[in-house]
Symmetry: C2
Subunit: 528 residues, 2 copies
């Protein structure tokens, strides 16, 4: 079996796994077929080798001009585009996500766009927030962490959140850190193709080959050893809460910064005026958002809160028709966990409006599903009724009145997003003002009048939020350059001789355009 | 005993502790005398009350204009100055730190200066890094965490790092969060006086009274419950490593951001040219820095690395004379832990050059102490030889050669600071370039040619560093506004109607001078 197993990328070489390595194969969700390539679980010895190579690469990267790091990211983006047919084909096979427009038209361009934005940010250098106190002779900036960053990618974005091409990868590299990527086991071939492109691009630009390393599988205990290893500089994880929290506990014990994205139900509050004004439109927006990508988005609207009554009945009826008539998408993984989550919601008092079953007895399908619960029942067990069903599932809470809607908002866990729909004439403004503070405190991104799916790669984006949606409320995983801050240390220079300062902190502006905070004012000028 | 016990400040009221509460009294280090006031350990019920009041205060603070928060900080600074005689007297009694110039001339003005800088930062609002993407309709800024911040202050700065007046306090409040302060048990009366001034100032300005709460003592299990409580928004701790790590473990489990400052030995590398050029001067600087405040500074130079030989011998002899002739200061607490740390260094192979004993059998005294060890012996047990002795103690490592100095640098733990002394003619430049990268990666603040004590309150300061010196390498505890970032959440607004945005994100510049990142450029202008 070892001879047929795909090699891992460690210390710049594609290495055969040991012949005794455990292996796995991915499954095509569209057909249930086991895919041919066999991928290894890496041993703890391989992980130690990767960490040591990562530490060395981190030291080398610090001596290399940032423009070369940027060149790598651009070259890699070009290589992905040059290989787009094979990549889209592999990703489609492994995820069943549609080739058009999702994979080829949206996600791949988003991914190369992110890599190029990260390249531009590295070149621009403003991200590092150079802060200069000329009178005190103290100058500081953000810089790389000094060791490798481990990235564990999720199953739902085979390109844009992939551990060797996604947002965490781009941010960590652009901030000057090497990456040890752990492939998601549902799309190892897509990840291998991306890593091949990355590896070739590293060679082309002349960056240390261990700047990007890849393993496919790790046993739980080896993953925890990696997270707890003193040579690991940071860890980024997107995925299942139980796995993320186990990694966090290990990293926390070692004092290693860890950034989790653990899921979110993204509450949507529809205020009475909006419901009266355009309930059919909002039902359509809910349907489109909740079933997009078979509902497998971190920002899927899994909870809708409105005031019960005739308008609410009309809204639920409209949504029900749409959910029933919509063609369910193919899931990324078997529907067991969605079934379990829906069963949990029902056990806690929710009623199924439509769906609530695995689709056509296909393990990779689940019916578009709506549930409802009264506000009082929600408040009787808010924790259970906030369990995430990672699929085309939304729970509608019919509150008794506006006060109960506020009460529900104040019982929410931390979420990535929170949405408020209000009417166009201002009739909902007072209700908005009452409700907004509780929601604001519990979400990273607050929206008006649109569903939360669709996370723009904007410098102003926050794809983050209070625990447990993520592990730190001050950082975003999407949006450049802010996402780079997670993988940076604050480097201060006190009385350091001018020629020894990094270029970003010397008197001349290193690019002619870098923004620096000089004596309290942001400036692109040289220091006189 | 309960009747005589000082009340705690909870939910805006000075409340008597329960009559069954355990109590403690501080000791005057200068005399060993137990001081009269009796302070309570707070029960878990009191801590729950404080948390609930803190959550409410956090919600109220969000509705209050930031200028009022700034007014409070300024008013509080004035109140501290108005009460300076009593404060300096109490702090002197409880810490034995000199009234002049340390307490009255340096630390108190530094403290009120920090509070006023924090007030100015709150008013200025640029700290919140408003980031505006006009095309996408997405705007974000840092904002308060939405709950109370617990601050545990250390023993060594009764004003400037006090949990109700110090840097963490000022930063948390200026960022819009209420504080639950835990007094250091070595200076409860100083802390009470500060809290009285804070409380009066809150009333004068009209801020929620629970914006500042104070407890004096908590049992270990109650401290851990506080750290692990879901209503706690963040925790800041400065002090002993074992206590800090226990609190961190509790906060980590709850997903609560925690900022520790755990100590540091602040390595100083003296390169050969500098040693040849000015060894006597550097020995004098070491003596002055290492014995300042009886060596009880986080940035005390506890490790000096140089190349053995005649210059090193001359340096050690000069330092020895100074350490022997210097008058040892009074310690903040009994010398047991310093003795234990020095014993540990000796057990690991260090030799005592001078000192190494408790001073005059006084439990609050410890002789100025120098130790030496060879580079080879240091590298044989680098962990043991990096144990911190929190007092006037420094270990001099005599390396065999420059390569061994580099090797030592690469075996250092994370530290707050690292210093390089080099000669004035450039003879050390090559050695500097070889050594600097390893040191840079392991410290928060890198210095040239001066000792690390003296932490300027500069916007460019980093009083932070890699683990285990602190718990996150990206943040500083000193320096405004950067220290405020620790107590902030990223608040994003997506498609939110203009009149509902916070003033910092609306089109007009809210102050006329706030810096905002608008479409990629920092600007003080309105948005057209």
């Amino acid at each position: 079996m070892g001879a047929m197993t795909e090699p891992v990328l460690i210390a710049g070489k594609w290495r055969a796994a040991g012949s005794s390595a455990a292996t796995f194969q991915a499954v095509a969700p569209a057909t249930g077929e086991t895919l041919a390539p066999t991928y290894p679980f890496s041993t703890s010895a391989e992980i130690e080798t990767a960490l040591a190579a990562g530490v060395e690469a981190a030291a080398e990267l610090r001596r290399i001009p940032v423009d070369e790091v940027a060149d790598f990211l651009d070259t890699f983006a070009d290589a992905i585009e040059a290989n787009r047919v094979e990549l889209v084909d592999a990703a489609h096979r492994e995820t069943a996500l549609p080739q058009e427009t999702r994979l080829d038209g949206i996600e791949l361009p988003r991914t190369t766009g992110q890599l190029r934005q990260a390249a531009a940010a590295a070149r621009d250098r403003s991200w590092s927030r150079a802060t200069i106190d000329t009178a005190a002779g103290i100058r500081s900036k953000l810089g790389p962490l000094g060791g490798p960053v481990a990235v564990f990618g999720p199953n739902n974005f085979p390109f844009a959140f992939n551990s060797v091409s996604g947002g965490d990868f781009a941010a960590a590299i652009a901030a000057g850190n090497p990456v040890i990527a752990k492939a998601h086991p549902s799309h190892p071939t897509t990840t291998r193709l991306l890593a091949e492109a990355a590896s070739t691009s590293l060679s082309a630009v002349g960056l240390p080959p261990a700047t990007v390393q890849l393993v496919y599988g790790v046993a739980i205990e080896d993953g925890l050893s990696l997270a707890a290893h003193p040579d690991l500089a940071a860890l980024a994880f997107t995925g299942r809460r139980s796995s993320g929290l186990a990694l966090k506990a290990a990293a926390d014990r070692a004092g290693t910064p860890v950034y989790l994205e653990l899921g979110s139900i993204n509450p949507v509050f529809v205020l009475p005026g909006a419901l009266a004004e355009r309930s059919d439109d909002i039902a359509m927006e809910l349907f489109a958002s909740c079933t997009l990508g078979a509902g497998q988005f971190c920002t899927n609207p899994g909870l809708v809160v409105l005031r019960g009554g005739e308008d609410a009945d009309r809204f639920v009826a409209a949504a029900q028709r749409l959910f029933e008539n919509g063609e369910p998408g193919v899931l990324l993984s078997p529907s067991d966990s969605i079934s379990a989550a829906v069963d949990g919601l029902v056990a806690a008092g929710a009623e199924v409006v439509t769906g609530g079953f695995s689709d056509n007895n296909d393990t990779f399908g689940y019916a578009n599903t709506l549930l409802t619960v009264s506000g009082a029942d929600f408040l009787a067990d808010p924790a259970a009724l906030q369990a995430e069903a990672f699929g085309p599932v939304s729970l509608i809470v019919r509150a008794a009145d506006l006060e109960q809607m506020d009460e529900i908002a104040s019982h929410l866990e931390g979420n990535l997003t929170g949405t408020l729909y209000s009417d166009s004439e201002g009739a909902d403004d007072a209700a908005y003002d009452d409700l907004e503070p509780a929601l604001r405190a519990r979400v990273g991104r607050l929206l008006n009048d649109k569903m939360p799916t669709g996370v723009a790669v904007s410098p102003a984006m926050n794809h983050g939020g209070p625990y447990p949606s993520t592990s730190h409320p001050g950082f975003t995983a999407v949006g450049i350059p802010a996402s780079m801050n997670r993988f940076a240390a604050l480097h201060c220079y006190d009385n350091v001789r001018h020629h020894r300062l990094p270029p970003e902190l010397q008197d001349p502006n290193p690019t002619g355009a870098m923004w620096r905070l000089i004596d309290g004012s942001w400036s692109q000028a040289d220091i006189a």
